[in-house]
């Protein structure tokens, strides 16, 4: 029979009274007892008898409880449940300490995100040129020449180098040369308007054999072999020949070279040290092709790359190169300078001629020579950024550890109670590690989000196209492992520290007092501030150096100058263009010259050897001189200062064979204090093979001395330079009045369109061109600033939480002090004093470290700013102020709180 509700209620209540309460077993036992009672009743017993019978079979209360206990034991022994328990406790703790958890997670996430971005940046920098399958065997030939007041380290070689090297050394499998000459004006045979293309080079047909650039159309083996053939990138093909095959089509370069497309290649990857769009074959009778066939070893214009055979030791080949120079270069020099010349003598008089090899994979990060295709990266910055990444991560981890240990004193009682209840030490360690790992996992998730958000900003800043490798499983694996590692590292100390408490001491209240200031914690805070101060000093230094360079007296006036590019496009109207724009009222002065006092694709360079008239052209007397051709208005327009003598003038017909030298030039020629009227000589005319003809010499009369001006990066000094009158129509340079920029450009463009209707009008401002020379540095310094700032913010975040915590710990103390008459300010001082001390220690440690770092970085500049004591003090004060502001808020809040509140309840 069925039991009535009353009976069932009675059983439920009775069992409850007997202590059967555990979830999961209670219901089951009730059902069991009820079923059994029902069964007994159907055997003829009444309810009371039946119930007693069943209880007896269970072994009464103790039997019931035993069943319950056994079941519970099984359940609780399961690690899954313990893990769940740890997780619950961890979660509750995080929520209870909301603000600290927030600071912990956000601080760590910011640090990790910054680190991720930097790591992506570094990986990108390290991956340059790796797309070349033969990368390990490709080497670039460099030449270092020190002679005649010039010291050049170049990525250029003489034209015949490649051929002779391959002929003499069987180790070399193939060679390729490049000759770059700035930008070209490009149009199709049907097109009317030319477009300016910057990424154009002349090269040998072996290009595709050596570099792993994929050819999409055409045959890589035959492309570029025939004269007047060119190869273009896919994006060029799409630009000039949309919706059809570019193969066999013609492109007209600079209005004179008709190139037939023999190959279309895939755009060269971003991580390459060159990004050419148009390759022109260096065969045939176009001027550059002719130059490439020259046998003269005296002019260095070709970037030469070697592909070595498998297993060849590049050092062994390099060791043979002095012999190579002696064999080929020596005789040619001797021919010009007279028979007495030998390489040995040349070197003995302090000169240098050395040929070296740079591995392809080292070019991007380790090479900064004359003749690099593009500004390269720098290993210095890779190191610098790696250091910052490690610093930021360290600061974030330290925050995390500090907050965990500091807060843990609040949990000493929890530890005590747990131990009394039978927790083993290993349980507690596990629990604390679980908590810290949970926080790091949260932080990493947040960090990925932050990374997504800020990577575009960073890309903008660094001009890179970095992306999170979201598709790679390794990425997640690495993230997961590092989050576990950081979680374990950060949690290890607090967990072992806490779990070592003796429950008796803790519960008596003897431990938590001693926890307020730990030596380890102070050390870590000091470490954080050492990093912060050093980073601030670094950031200020970089900023000051760049400002110094930009504002250094250059020797010419870079403002209010417009450079109209590609003057030769105006031919034959260059002179009339100059005359026309000179008439514009707001234009002060105009000059035509390809030579600009800044470095860049549109600025030409040319150097030649000269000697003082009367001397013999021997090694000791030769001066390697920048030989700039310009019209008579050059010095005036660019605002250079004539120190001695006079500028060019049309009133002196003899000025066609005059020269204006810079001070450095006067010094090199040893012209003394009265150089005006003295003459310098140079070879004029060539032998049939292209080398200078020793019998033809030309003279130039010095009419003026121009003050030294900087015409290349500040990393280099000023070299001897002469301005020679002549035609050089690379650019038209004009100086205009302030305030009418747009109008000036508009009117110049109008005149250009009249004189050269189908040519692109391109211009730039000289001050911007100048700034562009330092663009890479500017970018890097900005990035440096951002990360240094980030590091400081994270450090302060930690300090903020730490002060908040200390203040909280000392609420009662503060209350009592206030009751006894302490003022708010004295309490603020009391709270800040401890951290103040740490900051001073940090400053003392950071200053010399920063000094070493700054000194090392500035070494690469010839002209460097002074970093005085003030910078260090400033950095120290800034850190102190920021830290004090973060602490001050907490201190003042604690100090001005009502003592009644903190003292009322115990």
């Amino acid at each position: 029979m069925k039991l009535t509700n009353d009976h069932i209620n009675y059983i439920i209540k009775d069992l409850n009274n007997r202590g059967i309460v555990a979830e999961g077993i209670q219901e089951e036992l009730i059902d069991h007892v009820c079923s059994a009672v029902e069964n007994e009743i159907s055997n003829g017993k009444n309810f009371v008898e039946a119930y007693q019978e069943i209880l007896k079979s269970f072994g009464h209360t103790s039997g019931l409880r035993e069943a319950q206990k056994q079941t519970l034991l099984f359940e609780n022994q399961k690690t899954k449940i313990m893990l769940k328990n740890y997780l619950t406790i961890a979660w509750r703790n995080l929520r209870k300490q909301g603000i600290y958890s927030f600071i912990n997670i956000v601080g760590l996430a910011t640090g990790v995100a910054a680190c991720m971005v930097i790591v992506l940046f570094i990986i990108d920098e390290l991956s340059y040129d790796k797309f070349n399958t033969k990368a390990n065997r490709i080497y670039r030939v460099n030449n270092e020449i020190k002679f005649g007041g010039n010291h050049m380290t170049m990525a250029y070689s003489p034209a015949p180098f490649a051929h002779s090297l391959q002929q003499d050394y069987p180790e070399i499998e193939a060679t390729v040369r490049f000759r770059t000459l700035g930008s070209y004006l490009v149009k199709t045979s049907a097109g009317k308007e030319s477009i300016k293309e910057r990424k154009v080079t002349w090269t040998d047909s072996t290009f595709f054999k050596i570099f792993s650039v994929k050819v999409l159309e055409g045959n890589p083996n035959t492309a570029l072999k025939a004269p007047a053939s060119i190869a273009i990138s896919k994006s060029m093909a799409e630009k000039y020949f949309p919706a059809k095959s570019a193969l066999g089509e013609t492109l007209i370069l600079d209005n004179k070279y008709n190139g037939k497309v023999t190959a279309v290649f895939e755009d060269i990857p971003a991580t390459s040290h060159f990004h050419f769009d148009i390759l022109i074959a260096m065969v045939g009778d176009w001027p550059v092709a002719k130059e490439a066939q020259s046998t003269v070893y005296l002019s260095n214009n070709f970037q030469t790359y070697l592909l070595l055979k498998e297993g060849v030791d590049p050092k062994g080949l390099e060791a043979k190169l002095p012999g190579f120079l002696k064999k080929y270069v020596g005789p040619q020099v001797a021919q010009i300078l007279g028979g007495e010349f030998t390489m040995e003598k040349f070197k003995a008089s302090g000169n240098k001629y050395e040929t070296t090899l740079t591995p392809l994979l080292d070019i991007h990060l380790h090479s900064d020579l004359q003749g690099e295709f593009e500004p390269n990266g720098s290993i210095t910055y890779v190191y610098l950024f790696s250091t910052i990444a490690i610093f930021i991560l360290a600061i974030a981890c330290i925050n995390f550890m500090n907050l965990s240990t500091a807060r843990s004193s609040n949990r000493a009682k929890e530890v005590g109670v747990r131990k009394v209840m039978g927790s083993l030490r290993s349980h507690l360690v596990r629990q604390f590690l679980m908590e810290s790992t949970l926080v790091t996992i949260f932080s990493f998730l947040l960090a990925i989000g932050l990374c997504f958000l800020f990577l575009p900003v960073f890309n903008n800043l660094s001009l890179k196209q970095l992306q999170l490798p979201v598709e790679s499983p390794n990425f997640y694996l690495i993230l997961f492992i590092s989050s576990l590692l950081i979680g374990l590292m950060a949690g290890l100390y607090p967990s072992f520290f806490l779990s070592a408490f003796k429950p008796v001491d803790v519960l008596k209240g003897q431990v938590s007092r001693g926890m307020k200031s730990g030596t380890i914690r102070s050390t870590l805070v000091v470490f954080q501030f050492v990093i912060s101060i050093a980073l601030i000093v670094g950031a200020i230094t970089v900023n000051r150096q760049l400002n110094y360079i930009q504002n250094k007296k250059l020797g010419f006036a870079k403002d209010q100058v417009i450079v109209v590019h590609d003057g030769y496009a105006l031919r034959p109207n260059v002179q009339s263009f100059k005359n026309e724009i000179s008439k514009i009222s707001s234009i002060e002065s105009v000059t035509v010259s390809g030579f600009l006092p800044v470095e860049g694709a549109d600025s030409w360079r040319n150097d030649n050897t000269f000697w003082k008239q009367g001397n013999q052209p021997t090694t000791e007397n030769l001066v390697s001189l920048q030989n700039w051709t310009a019209d008579f208005d050059y010095i005036k327009t660019l605002g250079m200062k004539i120190k001695l003598g006079r500028d060019f003038s049309i009133q002196f017909p003899s000025d066609s064979s005059a020269v204006v030298l810079n001070e450095k030039g006067i010094q090199q020629f040893e012209l003394g204090n009265d150089p005006i009227g003295k003459k310098i000589s140079t070879f004029d005319g060539q032998l049939p093979d292209g080398s200078p003809d020793p019998s033809k010499v030309k003279y130039w009369t010095v009419i003026g001395v121009v003050e030294d001006f900087h015409f290349s990066s500040m990393k280099e000094g000023i070299h001897p330079l002469g301005v020679f009158p002549g035609k050089s129509d690379g650019s038209v340079i004009l100086r205009f009045n302030a305030g009418s920029t747009e109008q000036v450009i508009e009117s110049i463009e109008k005149i250009w369109k009249q004189l050269a209707p189908s040519q692109p009008f391109q211009y730039s401002f000289l001050d911007e061109d100048f700034g562009r020379m330092y663009a890479a540095e500017q970018r890097l310094s900005k990035i440096f600033f951002v990360f240094a700032g980030l590091a400081i913010i994270i450090a302060c975040l930690g300090l903020f939480a730490l002060t908040a915590f200390t203040a909280e710990q000392r609420t009662k103390e503060i209350g009592i002090r206030k009751v006894l008459g302490a003022s708010v300010s004295s309490i603020v001082v009391l709270l800040s004093k401890e951290f103040g001390k740490l900051l001073i220690i940090a400053f003392v440690i950071a200053a010399p470290l920063a000094w070493f770092g700054v000194d090392w970085w500035l070494k690469s500049y010839t002209y460097k700013t002074e970093i005085g004591v003030m910078v260090y003090l400033f950095a120290g004060v800034i850190t102190f102020v920021i830290a004090w502001l973060t602490m001050g808020y907490q201190s003042i809040r604690a100090a001005s709180s009502d003592p009644v509140k903190s003292l009322r309840s115990e």
């Binding site: 219901e27 009730i30 079923s35 069943a67």
Partner: protein
């Protein structure tokens, strides 16, 4: 006559698994009744041993459960999972082997049904 609980201890899991295998969905009290009937009353499972065993088997993944509300009571049914079914078979054959060994050790003949 009832068997000593010492003897039963090692076979409890086998008994529970086999009962569940033969009768399907069963609840705690029903299991005790089945065993009682099968053994002619000579094996009385104690509840104190049964429930921990059931919970343990469930935790190991051999059993799954289903709760059904019967009037005012909640009844928890146990049944074998796929894993439990093969385990039940293994345990029974293991026990038969054991009996055979025991027969040899104790020098007695054991009837095989």
């Amino acid at each position: 006559m009832t068997h000593s609980s010492e003897l039963l201890k090692g076979t409890l899991q086998t008994i529970v698994l086999k009962v569940l295998k033969d009768y399907g969905k069963t609840y705690g009290y029903e299991i005790t009744q089945r065993v009682k009937a099968l053994s002619d009353g000579s094996i009385a499972l104690t509840e104190g041993a049964l429930y921990p065993t059931l919970h343990k088997l469930e935790a190991e993944g051999f059993l799954k459960t289903e709760k059904i509300i019967v009037g005012k009571r909640v009844r928890k049914y146990y049944m074998l999972t796929l894993l439990g079914k093969s385990e039940a078979k293994d345990r029974v054959s293991e026990f038969i082997d054991f009996m055979r060994t025991m027969g040899a050790v104790l020098q007695v003949e054991i009837n095989r049904q």
